[in-house]
Symmetry: C2
Subunit: 320 residues, 2 copies
Amino acid sequence: METYIKVLAVRGAPAIGLAGGYGMFIAARNANTLHQAYKDLEIAADRLGNARPTAVNLKWAITRQQAVIKEVRTKLVNEYDSEQGLQTLRNALLTQADNMLKEDMDLCRQIGEAGLSLLQEGFTVLTHCNAGGIATSGYGTALAPIYVAHEKGMHVCVYADETRPLLQGMRLTAWELATNGIDVTVICDSAAPFLMKQKMIDLIIVGADRIALNGDTANKIGTYGLAVAAKAHGIPFYVAAPYSTFDPKIADGSEIPIEERGAEEVTNFLDKRFAPQKAMVYNPAFDVTPGELISGIITEVGILRPLYSQSIKSFIANHS
Amino acid sequence: METYIKVLAVRGAPAIGLAGGYGMFIAARNANTLHQAYKDLEIAADRLGNARPTAVNLKWAITRQQAVIKEVRTKLVNEYDSEQGLQTLRNALLTQADNMLKEDMDLCRQIGEAGLSLLQEGFTVLTHCNAGGIATSGYGTALAPIYVAHEKGMHVCVYADETRPLLQGMRLTAWELATNGIDVTVICDSAAPFLMKQKMIDLIIVGADRIALNGDTANKIGTYGLAVAAKAHGIPFYVAAPYSTFDPKIADGSEIPIEERGAEEVTNFLDKRFAPQKAMVYNPAFDVTPGELISGIITEVGILRPLYSQSIKSFIANHS
């Protein structure tokens, strides 16, 4: 599971979290004794938790599973190594992973309902990367309001940034929207500001990998440039994310680690290198958009508005 | 030649102009009689002149060759169809094409000298697409100041936007800079604003396909977004171009036609399609950056500054 997360076979912050949750169950399932399971789970938590640095959902899911382990361990304090104890632990981890999946589906639906108020008949929405049903379960985050609008018979068009280097927008977002009968047009990332200038975009919605207490948001590289251009054109710029994407431990975006990925993601297509050997490559996978550039954050309980230092604080407080 | 220009075997505004100039010579060379040559040249002027709509250099070169034809025709008014007359016409067209090439090399060098004042030891320059020696002859336009600086022993680093969809930055700019011993790092187009935010960019220089009288500049798609981000970060944003790129016939950028190119440039890599069949694609090849976002235009006679309505007017007046 760690490898699947690293090579992006599983990707998208909420899906990575769920993979982490199920990954912990798999570690327990593969252990032969309760004693071994406890040991393996410690290793799994460390390896899964560090498979990718930017999305906070992974650590959130691992932490929830660690709480389950602690609870089981307290309950089974006298059972050093029974078969029944091992089964209890496995069941508890699977139940929690299933709960997180169900919860994620509900959250996506609620985010969609909350974001619906931003859409109008005939609106054109720009999105970046993939924060749809493939990155999560159910409706996704950024795409959830579009799915809910479509379900209610509202006609909404989407421009999907192709999202270099790995083309999640062209491969995944365009695929899932088209498959669901929603008009979608792929553009090169760099064309987005030109579309904004031509008044072709009414609204921008993107997902998030981690949100700091002041609203600073890490998301796929290119998000920051969209937010800068959106501000220059007076276009509303929204982030959509469930509470698990908020990191109550960090005050602002400067504390979010930005994953740098391999050069070949940029230079190679179908294993053929397009860049000269002598050229260097810089491939940051994420950037941080300051809260000041974000019109609102669409969550499962409604849209958080600036000042985020206040609205995020009370949002988190209501969850704990 | 028309096909070579259309499929971008020849690309870059000045190189397209030169190809147009030599294309006219080739039309005359292929004709068997002077009479036929005049007829073929009319067709060639029309076809070559319309091979691509955005760069003005093409029409500029064709117009210069048409003036040569007119001159020869006046001189040979009594020679309806002599072999010697045909040779005179061919020679005149070849001489003019050669002159435009020599002139272009001189212009590039002069642009480099003019732009040198913008650079300092250790500077990092961001560029987009390819406006180097491959797009022109000699030193190029946007890259000319970098080559001149390098020649003088100044150390300058370059970030090259990969430039989707056709990757001219990754394939051409990175290649020519690396080959010439200049430090170059390729980034995805969408990463540029994030680099600006991290203070990794001192200066941006791009080429141009057409410049209107008020400084509005058409260039490769993505240029406009860079200019918007540069303004937000207080980074100087320069355009480099010779006088042939200025279009004295248009008051502002709204009159510049923007070429839309095929979807497969975006969706296909090595003939494999990455987008779902049902998704649409919008692929504008250029955008227009308003003069207000441009710090200066580096020309062969120095750097033009705002107000462009005045500085461009007197620049053009001195050329006619």
